[in-house]
């Protein structure tokens, strides 16, 4: 009951605000959606404490599909993993709803915005609580839809529409793999229920499946396909291009969907399917490789960007990489732990950035900021807390989780474990550097905005700063409070995260050499110190370095030319192919002989069919008698004949 209310409260809010927004007005929509989200968040908090260490149970809702051996019901799976996710989602969403009241105060369609946010939260909760792959997919597509609607929320801006479409299409690529994965799971296990899959996974280890004439390890194929879906949703290397563009949406959206919750769905998927991944070593190696590469790759781009939200977006991409390689090396708990701390500090950073943008009259370019820290002291302090948590300053949330991830990478025996460790440490330097750069450029130095803007700079109202404060508390203490997740015996998770019999990462990670433990701290100090030198002590240094390493700088600045490459290969390629088929195939052949001709004869047939209808009763009676006569004749000649 508790969980049913928890999951469906946001849906009710979305329906009320979305369909009756005009009737209840802006204020009414805000009260309804925020009120229901507070309820949901409270229940999620209660649920978290009640379910930690408890075995999984299922709350059935409705029957859904029964076709042959294929069964899917609506049900909520409640276990420590889903409880942690429900808590993260509901808690962040609740405060972001409240923040939006202030941030979107001047917008024209407030009920629509609140409805979309609540709808998103509902789908996300469905995603994390599903007990079969189809319901997971329902939530998965639902959050994709909500994300699309919210990125394109300001639909009069062409750039927002383009970004929304891009997000949707890139996700389709990932979903293609994901759907194949689900179908594959059904093919192999004859079910899509988690319980049955998890029980059967060990038995399927080392079995093979024949694809394209070669035999492959069954579980590797399945895990690989599912991970393709995760890559799309979580913006991993190759399918990451949509995430920075998604910043076209309002900032609360970036905080909720593109930082704290939706983009982490991929990590959740890997952790949820850990019983499958544990028996798929090659897939795990791939996960580690992609995760570690993304962590470094996104961080390099973050170094050079000037849009404050894009810097944080690339940072999100990079942190997601950390989570993935944690899962890849078998430390799923560390991955989820990082997901959980990351949700707090990244939401905080985004909302803080929103507060800055709000203060600077919608300016997002850091080159036109600077010197405002005295004017927005609360935001400034909150941004520092978020930054310290992100770069892993001792005592803050990110410190615990990032260290755990890196230690696990060192301790693991995965083929790419050390690759991941070294890339992770390097990325940590870069993380500290670009985070410091963001702070220095935004708040310190000479004011670079015009006089008009500087004159208007003001601290945000309490409805925005209070959520910042709450998330800041989370960014400081979430790490301490969640340390139980790293328990080597796995009592916290009570089997909801599975580790194979040979997987001792969670134990070994506590016994790594001292220098491994110290490495993240050194990396952080180095990065932060360098950024101080670059942007405060010697402000002309960045330009000199950029020109000295021009090729490298333009590679990073232009995001490794991924967008250009994709545009060249896929967009233009597809367009050329489409035009060729359209002109040559469709218009030239099919239309000429097919539809145009068929349409004409259809119309002619329709005209004739109408003409039969004369309106005279004796014609009608005649038709009936002829009909009977014809049927009897048919019978006598063809059936008995």
């Amino acid at each position: 009951m508790l969980h049913t209310v928890l999951v469906f409260a946001p849906l009710v809010g979305a329906i009320v605000a979305g369909l009756f927004g005009r009737a209840i007005g802006d204020r009414g929509a805000q009260i309804v959606t925020c009120g229901l989200m507070v309820l949901s968040a409270l229940l999620a908090t209660v649920g978290l404490f009640a379910n930690v260490g408890e075995p999984a149970r299922t709350v059935p809702l409705l029957e859904w599909i029964y076709v042959g051996s294929f069964q899917a019901d609506w049900a909520l799976r409640v276990d420590p993993l889903s409880s942690v996710m429900m808590f993260v989602v509901s808690f962040c969403s609740c405060w972001i709803h409240i923040y939006s009241v202030g941030y979107m105060a001047h917008d024209k369609s407030i009920p629509r915005f609140m409805a979309y946010l609540s709808l998103f939260t509902f789908f996300m909760l469905m995603l994390v609580t599903s007990d079969n792959l189809l319901q997971l997919f329902f939530g998965w597509e639902g959050v994709g839809l909500a994300s699309y609607l919210l990125i394109g929320f300001w639909y009069t801006r062409p750039s927002a529409c383009a970004a929304a479409i891009k997000a949707f299409i890139v996700n389709r690529v990932g979903d293609f793999g994901f759907v194949l994965g689900i179908a594959g799971v059904f093919l192999v296990f004859d079910t899509i229920q988690y319980d049955t899959i998890f029980r059967g996974a060990a038995g399927m280890a080392n079995s093979t499946i024949v694809l394209f004439g070669t035999s492959w390890d069954t579980l590797d194929v399945l895990a690989f396909l599912l991970f393709i879906g995760a890559m799309g949703k979580s913006a991993q290397l190759g399918l990451h291009t949509w995430l920075p563009d998604a910043m076209e949406g309002p900032t609360p959206v970036s905080a909720l969907i593109h930082a704290a919750t939706m983009v982490t769905a991929g990590v959740f998927l890997v952790a949820r399917m850990s019983p499958l991944f544990e028996y798929a070593p090659d897939a795990l190696a791939f996960v580690t490789f992609i995760g570690a590469s993304t962590a470094l790759f996104a961080a390099t781009i973050g170094l050079t960007q000037f849009d404050i939200k894009r810097v944080i977006a690339y940072s999100t991409c990079s942190q997601l990489g950390y989570m993935f390689f944690a899962c890849g090396v078998g430390a799923y708990a560390a991955g989820i732990f990082h997901l959980y701390t990351h949700a707090f500090f990244k939401a905080l950073l985004f909302l803080g950035a929103g507060s800055v943008i709000h203060a600077m009259s919608d300016e997002q370019d850091m080159r036109r900021m600077g010197g405002i820290w005295r004017l927005v002291p609360v935001t400034y302090a909150m941004m520092w807390i978020g930054t310290l948590a992100l770069i892993g300053f001792p005592g803050f949330a990110g410190f615990f989780s990032k260290d755990a991830v890196l230690e696990a990478a060192w301790a693991s025996h995965n083929a790419f474990a050390h690759y991941a460790f070294w890339l992770g440490v390097t990325a940590a330097v870069l993380t500290a550097f670009y985070s410091g750069r963001l702070i220095w450029m935004t708040f310190h130095g000479e004011p670079r905005a015009d006089h008009e803007t500087m004159h208007h700079v003001h601290e945000s109202p309490p409805v925005m700063t209070i959520p910042l404060g709450v998330l800041a508390v989370g960014a400081i203490f979430a790490g301490w409070l969640g340390l139980g997740m790293l328990d080597a015996e796995g009592q916290f998770w009570a089997g909801s995260i599975f580790t194979g019999p040979d997987n001792h990462v969670m134990h070994d990670m506590h016994e790594v050499p001292f220098w491994v433990k110290a490495a993240p701290f050194v990396a952080m100090a180095l990065g932060l110190g360098l950024s101080y030198v670059f942007y405060i002590l010697a402000p002309d240094l960045p330009a000199r370095v950029a020109s000295a390493f021009r090729p490298l700088h333009s590679l990073f600045y232009n995001k490794w030319y991924f967008d250009e490459l994709y545009d060249l290969v896929f967009v233009r390629g597809a367009k050329a192919l489409g035009v060729a088929f359209w002109r040559g195939g469709d218009q030239g052949v099919i239309d000429r002989f097919g539809p145009d001709g068929v349409a004409l004869s259809t119309l002619a047939a329709a005209r004739r069919a109408v003409r039969i209808q004369t309106g005279y009763v004796y014609h009608y009676a005649f038709a009936m008698l002829i009909g009977v006569a014809a049927l009897v004749t048919w019978y006598l000649v063809f059936v008995r004949g």
Partner: protein, 485 residues
């Protein structure tokens, strides 16, 4: 057997309720009578449904073996009662606006429903004929209910004349079958013709009996409005008052389809090969004519007539399969068809300009701007009727086509899919007119709450069927299993 009347309780209840309401209607004040009787009639139908839902579903004979109550009849009766109740509710505002609000309307619907209820429970040709006529006579009157309107009286008369002809054919068929079998009872017929035993396959049906069966099918096809016995439909649908059309298009067809399934599957269930081709022919003709002729229509009620002809064609695909899966598919199809069609007529009843009901398709222009919810509902019904997933209509079609494929009639399923492609054109044209064409005049905003409510509920049911299809599918499955033993 004996004189146990318990299985007949729903019909007895409706009969007594109808007679009592007749008196109530006469005794109530002129202005009040229509409303009071309508309310009580709906109540009677609801109670009737509850009696059926609560009753024993195992097959029980009554009235000397002429009547059978089983899971199959229970499923259909609940559909019929719900359809009739909604038809009464839909009508009240319309009749009032047209100044023909008379209490007889509800009573006629009630008595006709009683006849349909007897039809789906018929276990002999005698009961079949009696039920059919009891359901048909009130329908003739209902079609001409707007008696000062030329088109309405014309509709009633045409329906009556052609209905009499169809009844004659049906009776002729019954007498032929009786002549060769020497019995009227469905239970005994099969044995009389030499049903399969452990030693031998079923005997060949006598020629005369098959000709009789063809005549019976023709009589039922008239009620179903299947080609070539459909000619009355467009004229009658257009001329009758719109709520009557809704009733004709839903309950009447459901009852006839139920009866046809029972006759073909129960006494003649072992001779599927003998009647399958006839049903297939009628089915193909109906699907094709329903698809093509509707394209040329300008009046939405005429369009619905052809659309209904097409739908019956699809339902007959399931009948032609001649299997339990087929019966199951037909039942699901009928239930979904009933809901979609009532909702569509609800939408048609929402279209008024300056107090006048309009029914041209071009009148729908601009509906989406002025009445976005009504347009959305009609859009849902149109997409659903066209069979677009994930709406309910898709699943009805999917099931009948699956049944046909399983029965080895793949080509019939392919034809069905192709004709539904053609049919999609005119459904989508309505959506296009609603959403893209400019309106000439504004629609009235005053609406009757019952019509709005029914439209909204049926639209939601159509839209969200996919979320919770279990209860309907289970009930239809049980009903099909009860018939095909």
């Amino acid at each position: 057997m004996g004189f146990d009347l318990t299985p007949v309780l729903p019909e007895l209840f409706l009969l007594v309720a109808g007679l009592v309401l007749l008196v109530v209607g006469v005794l109530t004040r002129e202005g009040e009578a229509a409303r009071v009787v309508a309310t009580l009639s709906v109540l009677a139908l609801v109670i009737g449904s509850i009696i059926i839902a609560a009753s024993d579903k195992s097959p029980q004979l009554a009235l000397g073996g002429h009547y059978v109550a089983d899971g199959f009849s229970a499923f259909l009766k609940i559909l019929l009662f719900v359809g009739a109740a909604l038809a009464i509710l839909l009508a009240q505002g319309f009749l009032h606006d047209r100044r023909i609000a008379r209490f007889e309307y509800s009573l006629l619907v009630l008595f006709s429903t009683l006849g349909m209820s007897m039809m789906v429970s018929a276990n002999s040709f005698l009961a079949l004929y009696m039920g059919l006529e009891l359901s048909a006579l009130p329908l003739y009157v209902l079609a001409a209910f707007d008696r000062d309107n030329l088109r309405s009286t014309e509709a009633g008369l045409k329906y009556f004349v052609l209905g009499a002809l169809a009844s004659g054919m049906l009776l002729y068929g019954c007498s032929l079958v009786y002549g060769f079998a020497g019995t009227l009872s469905f239970d005994v017929l099969a044995d009389a013709f030499g049903a399969a035993t452990a030693e031998r396959p079923p005997a060949l049906l006598p020629l005369g009996a098959v000709v009789g069966l063809v005549f019976i099918i023709a009589g039922l096809a008239f009620k179903l409005a299947a080609v070539p016995f459909h000619m009355w439909t467009p004229d009658v649908y257009e001329g009758s008052p719109t709520p009557v059309t809704a009733f004709l298009a839903t309950a009447s067809k459901v009852a006839a389809a139920g009866l046809a399934v029972r006759v073909l599957m129960h006494p003649f269930g072992e001779w599927t090969a003998q009647w399958q081709q006839v049903v297939v022919l009628i089915s193909i003709a109906s699907m094709l004519l329903g698809a093509f002729a509707a394209i040329g229509q300008a009046n939405i009620k005429r369009l619905m007539a052809y659309s209904g002809i097409g739908h019956i064609g699809y339902a007959l695909v399931g009948v032609a399969a001649g299997s339990e899966r087929g019966v199951y598919a037909v039942l699901v199809y009928l239930a979904i068809y009933l809901v979609m069609t009532l909702g569509t007529f609800g939408c048609i009843l929402l279209m008024r300009r300056q107090g006048q009901y309009v029914e041209q398709i071009s009148d729908l222009a601009g509906l989406s701007r002025q009445r976005p919810m009504a347009a959305a509902a009609l859009g849902v019904f149109m997409f659903s009727q066209a069979g677009i997933p994930p709406l309910a209509g898709f699943f009805g079609k999917l099931l009948v086509f699956l049944a046909a494929v399983e029965a080895g009639l793949t080509w019939l399923a392919v034809l069905g899919v192709l004709s539904s492609c053609v049919a999609a054109f005119y459904y989508l044209r309505i959506v296009k007119v609603m959403y893209f064409d400019e309106a000439a005049e504004p629609f009235d905003t005053a609406v009757h709450p019952a019509v709005t409510g029914i439209t909204a509920i049926t639209a939601l049911a159509t839209l969200f069927f996919i979320v919770w299809p279990g209860p309907l599918l289970r009930a239809a499955g049980a009903a099909a299993a009860a018939l095909v033993r």
